[in-house]
């Protein structure tokens, strides 16, 4: 992936910039020594690294505003950063940018169980939001795989999803309000503890804007009461097509599981070798989970199992205890780690209409042969959000480029099938130059005009989301 060349004029301002930032922040909140800023040179897309000019760790909305005002004055680009878990390079800096990390802002500001919301600073991790309300049997629904580490700020920037969004929706469906600082230092409050927007749904466009419209410092999030219970069932099938048809039939039958997860043979084998969850050796595996009281779960699973049996499963395993449930989920939850044991991998995130599942899986298999790279598929089948994992060797010359080329082909395939490039990880730098496969120039132009409104100088995370060629005139301006 190409990144814009750093501006020599900005690089030359470093000393003055650090001096001005140090005047508004505590001394330990401005990181500018060469060996220290290395910690901020990349996010979870580790193939790309570049140390920033400096990094700042403000502790309040007001400090964020002061930082942004200075950078705005000096025309220095700013890259906001949550916990740095982006798989898309959303927090990758350029050499002439300031990393603005929100990690020090992690407080719970307010919890309200009667009105069912929590207000937090956005450096707080996803899982610790649920942690803050758990003793009252409440939870925060979006559950990205990285939830132990990822910050709410990043969840909002990428509109993160998770395994349970078939029932509970993604971040944008659970976000009620934000306090946000614009690039010029203006502090805005949008939404709050009430529902829906008074006028335009600005919350809806801020969520998922990949840190390009402002720095969100506080968020009001919907919290929900935990269900009485949940139980998964494991189903093995002898082809991807049959598993895909079973997913479709479950959905059509009128039950709505909270999760339908799909794994293909390469992933099943890898997770068995890694975690030993006791999965059957078959072509495709589904984990279907439903929620409710014991009786409600029995009723829903009864219907689901009846549908599954029509598809001649090679295995049907209903959990009868918490321990068995944990074992059913064990393989799925360790899938990425298991694939990582085999080799380096690149995790894609395209979404397709559920009906295209068998066709797309077949084509991915063909591409795998063509490129000579192994692929495992593990994904959220209920909503068509695929996560093909392409294995490659980062130490082998040319393998990363080969892997990226194959990834691009898979994502184009997702778009051709009626889907999209990214379902929950975001565009970042990773899918930036593929945007033209999904969007016509006018579709991208109107999106860039929205950024023009929020950040006229294009200083916030400027080299992301849009193909560099499309945004060039704006970034230079």
């Amino acid at each position: 992936m190409e990144m814009p060349a750093p501006s020599p004029a900005i690089l030359a301002k470093k000393a003055r910039l650090v001096e001005r930032l140090s005047a508004v922040l505590p001394v330990d909140a401005v990181i500018h020594e060469e060996r220290e800023i290395k910690a901020y040179e990349c996010d979870a897309l580790t193939a790309y690294k570049c140390p920033p000019l400096c990094a700042v760790l403000p502790a309040s909305t007001e400090e964020v505003a002061a930082v942004l005002k200075i950078c705005h004055d000096m025309e220095v680009p700013v890259v906001p950063r949550g916990s740095g878990t982006s798989l898309a390079g959303g927090a990758l800096p350029t050499a002439d940018s300031v990393i603005l990390g929100v990690a020090r802002m992690n407080a719970v500001l307010e919890t309200n169980y009667d009105d069912r919301y929590i207000r937090v600073q956005t450096g707080r991790t996803n899982l610790s939001v649920t942690g803050a309300v758990e003793e009252h049997d409440f939870f925060y629904a979006p559950d990205p795989s990285s939830q132990l580490a990822c910050a709410i700020a990043g969840n909002i920037a990428m509109n993160s999803g998770g395994a349970h969004c078939l029932k509970y929706g993604v971040t944008t469906n659970n976000l009620m309000g934000v306090r946000m600082v614009q690039m010029d230092g203006t502090i805005l409050d949008i939404g709050g503890a009430h529902l829906d927007a008074a006028g335009y749904d600005l919350l809806g466009i801020i969520c998922g804007s990949e840190g390009q419209m402002g720095v969100v410092t506080e968020a009001t999030l919907r919290i929900l009461r935990k269900p009485e219970g949940a139980r998964p069932v494991l189903m093995g099938f002898d082809s991807n097509e049959v598993a895909g048809a079973c997913v479709s039939d479950i959905i059509k039958a009128g039950v709505l599981p909270v999760a339908i997860e799909f794994m293909d043979r390469p992933v099943i084998r890898a997770t068995e070798a890694f975690a030993g969850a006791g999965y059957p050796d078959c072509e495709a595996l589904l984990i279907v989970e439903v929620e409710g009281s014991e009786a409600e779960i029995d009723e829903q699973l009864g219907l689901i199992l009846q549908i599954a049996r029509k598809h001649n499963p090679v295995e049907l395993r209903e959990s009868t205890s918490a321990d068995e449930s944990a074992r059913i989920w064990l393989g799925r939850k360790s899938a990425f780690g298991a694939m990582g044991q085999i080799n380096d991998y690149m995790c894609l995130d395209g979404t397709i209409p559920v009906s295209s599942l068998p066709m797309v899986l077949k084509r991915i298999g063909e591409l795998s042969k063509q490129y000579g790279l192994d692929v495992g598929n593990v994904f959220h089948a209920g909503d068509g959000n695929m996560h093909p994992l392409i294995l490659f060797d980062a130490n082998k010359e040319g393998d990363l480029e080969l892997c990226e080329a194959m990834g691009a082909d898979i994502l184009r395939l997702c778009v051709e099938a009626g889907g999209c490039l990214t379902g929950e990880h975001g565009v970042g730098i990773e899918k930036r130059d593929l945007m033209t496969a999904q969007f016509a120039p006018e579709d991208l132009e109107i999106q860039m005009k929205v950024k023009d409104v929020f950040d006229p100088k294009w200083l916030l995370n400027p080299a992301k989301v849009f193909p560099l060629a499309s945004s060039e005139g704006r970034r230079a301006a």
């Binding site: 829906d196 335009y200 009461r225 959905i251 909503d383 068509g384």
Partner: protein, 370 residues
């Protein structure tokens, strides 16, 4: 009146417009400040483009009647999740509600508290901006974070940012059975406590409203589950008052249509306001409203008010956060008070900026949202 029959014709009509356009779907929801201009109707952009029951998604042209969509979904035992309100009784309008109109006004119903608003189920839009350019955003898949989410921005923009030509939704399975629990003899404060208790329970309450001294709670799902949750909720609410249960489908439907469509407030010469607050603020606000008639939905988070014509409800207890929209009033009152809640200056600046980018000539429903 201009009635394009294709998106291309719609784009041409907008591009060639010489003056302001008044955008119309089915014309059943005349919400917003008065607009003068040539009527541009989307009624002839009609028909379901794609429906995949196995993927829980539907795509339809903007002018498709809601009734046509609901009939197609019912055949497959599916539904739109957000239970859009029908404004015809409340506003005294007739005509055919269209799916594009529902999106343009982000119309939801009582199930908003459980299933989200229209914008939460909307996964794709096609629209024509004020320059006459056809644009797409989102698509037909449930999870999509590719680029900015203009889908949400277009929902509830009342035709002021673009003329919607096609919309896509994610769907939910149909509902097998329903029950309504009624708690009689409560005042507003007691009702909000009851509703918060029910909505904060694990029993999946899909409607919580208060009208005429009664709190009504709705649960939906499979029959055995309804019976189970009914008992659990009765136990939970035993200190709140006598609980009666209605499970007859016709009666349940009638109770909720009345609430969702606010039929108690039909006719008359009062103004109608729609107020969004956090539920626990509702009792104080209702008390401050004095003699005005009120009805609560969304567990107290949505307050419908019928009050003396010309009253500026925003001047009453202004410290209570949220927003207050004037839904029904004379044109003079709408113009004097503005239908949409005034926003802080920096938000206004962003809104004005967006309008200037999406509609540089200012011809799409100019002034409707202020």
């Amino acid at each position: 009146m201009i009635e394009p029959t294709s998106e291309r014709a719609l784009a041409d009509a907008v591009r060639d417009a010489r003056g302001p356009l008044k955008i119309r779907g089915g014309g059943t929801r005349p919400i917003g400040n008065p607009v003068t201009g040539e009527v541009l109707s989307t009624a002839k952009l009609s028909g379901i483009t794609l429906y995949e029951p196995g993927a829980l998604t539907i795509v339809a042209q903007a002018g498709t009647p809601l009734a046509e969509i609901e009939a197609a979904l019912a055949k497959e035992n599916q539904r739109l999740p957000f239970e859009p309100m029908d404004h015809r009784t409340l506003l005294g309008t007739d005509g055919e509600p269209t799916i594009g109109g529902i999106v343009a006004a982000n119309v939801s119903g009582p199930r908003r508290i459980q299933a989200g608003a229209c914008r939460d189920s909307l996964i794709g839009v096609r629209f024509v901006d004020g320059a006459g350019t056809a644009i797409k955003n989102g698509g037909r898949v449930m999870k999509n974070v590719t680029g900015y989410d203009l889908v949400k921005l277009l929902a509830g923009s009342y035709g002021t940012l673009g003329v919607i030509s096609e919309v896509s939704f994610k769907l939910l399975p149909g509902i097998a059975a329903r029950a309504v629990l009624t708690v009689a003899g409560q005042d507003v404060a007691a009702s909000v406590v009851t509703m918060s208790k029910a909505l904060g329970s694990p029993f999946e309450v899909s409607g919580a409203a208060y009208a005429n001294g009664r709190t009504v709670l709705r649960i939906e799902g499979f029959a055995d589950s309804i019976a189970y949750r009914t008992e659990k909720l009765k136990d939970l609410l035993e200190d709140d008052g006598a609980v009666s249960v209605e499970t007859d489908p016709a009666n349940v439907a009638a109770i909720w249509a009345g609430i969702g469509d606010v039929t108690d407030f039909k006719g008359g010469d009062e103004d109608i306001w729609r107020i969004s607050v956090k539920p626990s603020d509702a009792p104080a606000l209702v008390a401050a409203l004095g003699d005005a008639r009120t009805m609560l939905d969304w567990g107290g988070g949505l307050i419908w008010v019928a009050c003396k014509a010309g009253t500026n409800l925003r001047a009453i207890a202004p410290e209570i956060a949220g927003h207050r929209t004037l839904i029904r009033a004379s044109d003079a009152t709408k113009t004097a008070l503005g239908c949409f809640h005034p926003e802080p200056a920096p938000v206004q600046a962003i809104n004005a900026g967006l309008r200037s980018k999406f509609d540089p000539r200012g011809i799409l429903n100019p002034g409707l949202m202020g």
